[in-house]
Subunit: 160 residues, 2 copies
DNA sequence: TTAATTTAGGATAAAAGAGTCTTTAATACT
DNA sequence: AGTATTAAAGACTCTTTTATCCTAAATTAA
């Protein structure tokens, strides 16, 4: 099991790319999808969720696309996750026991409740501007199926 | 998205119940399933994974069932998770970028790498004996579909 | 040896997640 | 007005997860 669904990581990658590309103009979903090596149709669906949540503004027609409804600095990573995967990860019992709480806790309740706060704080303190800056500063990665992967794979092998 | 798959939380709940019931005798999967309100067939499949990993010993026929291959105290929670969900949660990139590492990190790499250690430590320091003791000490919960839920639900409503 | 019990394992089905394709609606440009 | 572009929306497919059911194999006890 991964921490986040595939839809969610695609949405996050797209949002970071958008933050890199600037916030003034509408960016076409097709362009984002191409840069990230994703299906444009599928990404459209995912970004629709962000539009419906009010995180993005969309515009149809030529020169259309999507852009942030507010400065990337003011959009927290957790808002993207919440819109796509929901808040379950940050709010629910680790053993899936509905209603687990201090009154009737599960055996893991105390430890997990404490940890959830840390996890949540991590996703709340990251914003899209910050993440975009990371990419620009250090030439970090956003793509999977790219030459980067192949290069790294070869490098890794050579190091051994 | 939940932290753990359903199979995994069923496996954990069953393992904790087994630890409560004692480690000497074989316990029938049917009995565990009944106490936890799960499908016995489904739980059998899940516990098979634990048997295949060597965490459990199984025995067919009358008086058969499953029991731990070593003292519950020596079985870490992370071992159950690893056998059912795998180690992805504790080892992989949060943005699903294969090969994300210090060489070619994703924008979230540093923060997540740091956090993964904390998460992993949590699951490594919990063992089945400890979790079972939690249940016994405080009358904690292991079941979902039980009267307990209904009672708590009503209590919660009344508190508002 | 027969019958009952219990895990193992395969076949199948239902539900959810992931992904594709087609049509529709909005809009900009000529 | 007409055409090209782009997101929205729905139908559809494929895969994985979740769950059920049936048969086989092992084992105990009578």
């Amino acid at each position: 099991m991964a921490l986040l669904s595939k839809s969610c990581v695609y949405g996050i990658r797209a949002a970071i790319l958008m933050a890199i590309k600037g916030e003034k103009e509408f960016i076409s979903i097709k362009d984002i999808a191409e840069e990230l090596n994703l299906s444009a149709h599928f990404l459209t669906k995912i970004l629709q969720l962000l539009t419906q949540e009010g995180l993005l503004i969309s515009h149809r027609g030529p020169k259309g696309g999507v852009k942030f409804s507010r400065p990337a600095k003011n959009i927290k990573l957790i808002e993207i996750v919440a819109a796509i995967d929901g808040m379950e990860l940050f709010e629910e019992c680790a053993l899936g026991l509905h209603g687990c709480g201090t009154a009737t806790p599960c055996p893991l309740h105390e430890k997990w409740a404490e940890h959830k706060i840390v996890l949540r704080t991590l996703f709340e303190t990251e914003n899209l501007e910050k993440l975009a800056d990371n990419v620009q500063d250090a030439g970090l990665r956003l793509r999977t199926l790219s030459q980067l992967d192949i290069i790294e794979f070869n490098n890794t092998k050579m190091q051994k």
